[in-house]
Symmetry: C2
Amino acid sequence: MGRGACVWFTGLSGSGKSTTAAALVPLIEARGREVTVLDGDVVRTHLSKGLGFNREDRDTNVRRIGYVAAEIVRHGGISVASVVSPYRQTRDEVREMVGPGFVEVFVDTPLEVCEARDVKGLYAQARDGRLERMTGVDDPYEPPVRAELVLTTTDTTPEANAERVLRFLEERGVLERPTAAGRVMGAEGS
Amino acid sequence: MGRGACVWFTGLSGSGKSTTAAALVPLIEARGREVTVLDGDVVRTHLSKGLGFNREDRDTNVRRIGYVAAEIVRHGGISVASVVSPYRQTRDEVREMVGPGFVEVFVDTPLEVCEARDVKGLYAQARDGRLERMTGVDDPYEPPVRAELVLTTTDTTPEANAERVLRFLEERGVLERPTAAGRVMGAEGS
């Protein structure tokens, strides 16, 4: 059994958190490990149904996901969370809860790029005044100051970013490096 | 690493679920395993804050706990839940979610005994009409029909009941039996 870890993707809506997470999960599973996916939107439909988007409700949502992630890590499991989690202090609380297995990954996509993508149409709604408290528009996003990894998505594919997270998990000893028959290791893996 | 399991204590308020769970946890930990305690009352303060006691809210609470328990089992971990979980169908949903690691333990204490104990004063409140939807008073409790274990608490101590659950986990292969230097096995352990 390997070590537990929580890969926590944080960033604006549309930054590419869930896409990167979706690319990462099969890479971890290919190493024979189970993964619990804690996607902010998915989790809201059952774990946090009924919560809104004011600061208190956002914090409750983030702490609940953090609680589940922390318990999974305690049992040596791996969870991959993708949650806007806009407030630094609340992310730091989750870091505290999870312990050394916490890997904060800042998906650092500029607001204008996220807004141009606008996959869910939320930015358009926010600009029209149909949606309040949209992170990046009329609610703050506090970028991490000590993220384990910072990813850019304008010049890098989700697959390449997922590989980078995978290598980080190897370096941390969460995952074992494949040997011999496995894929060839890049020089940066050493 | 051993196998995952969810020990799910169900029964009336005051039946002795949490007391038995509290006696069980150190026994499991003594075998070198981590345990996540999912106590209905504790969980309500963070995982399910704001939920009430109508059927829908009770079910949401039970399903959330079941979700966390199921994820822990998936990673090979052990969780011990003590939740009234009065409705059979909802418990069976949790059984489905968790899979073969689910161990339903019915703490079968008669209502009159629970009411005489009334540790939290809830039965008195319910009889006075100050509390509505109290399980066993004006809300139903549907006893399990296929519980893995049925415990009585009027003639058995919490410690003896906890030992019985421990032996069941050994028989299921969730925990390894201690050998040689460990404690002497009872004949029923074979």
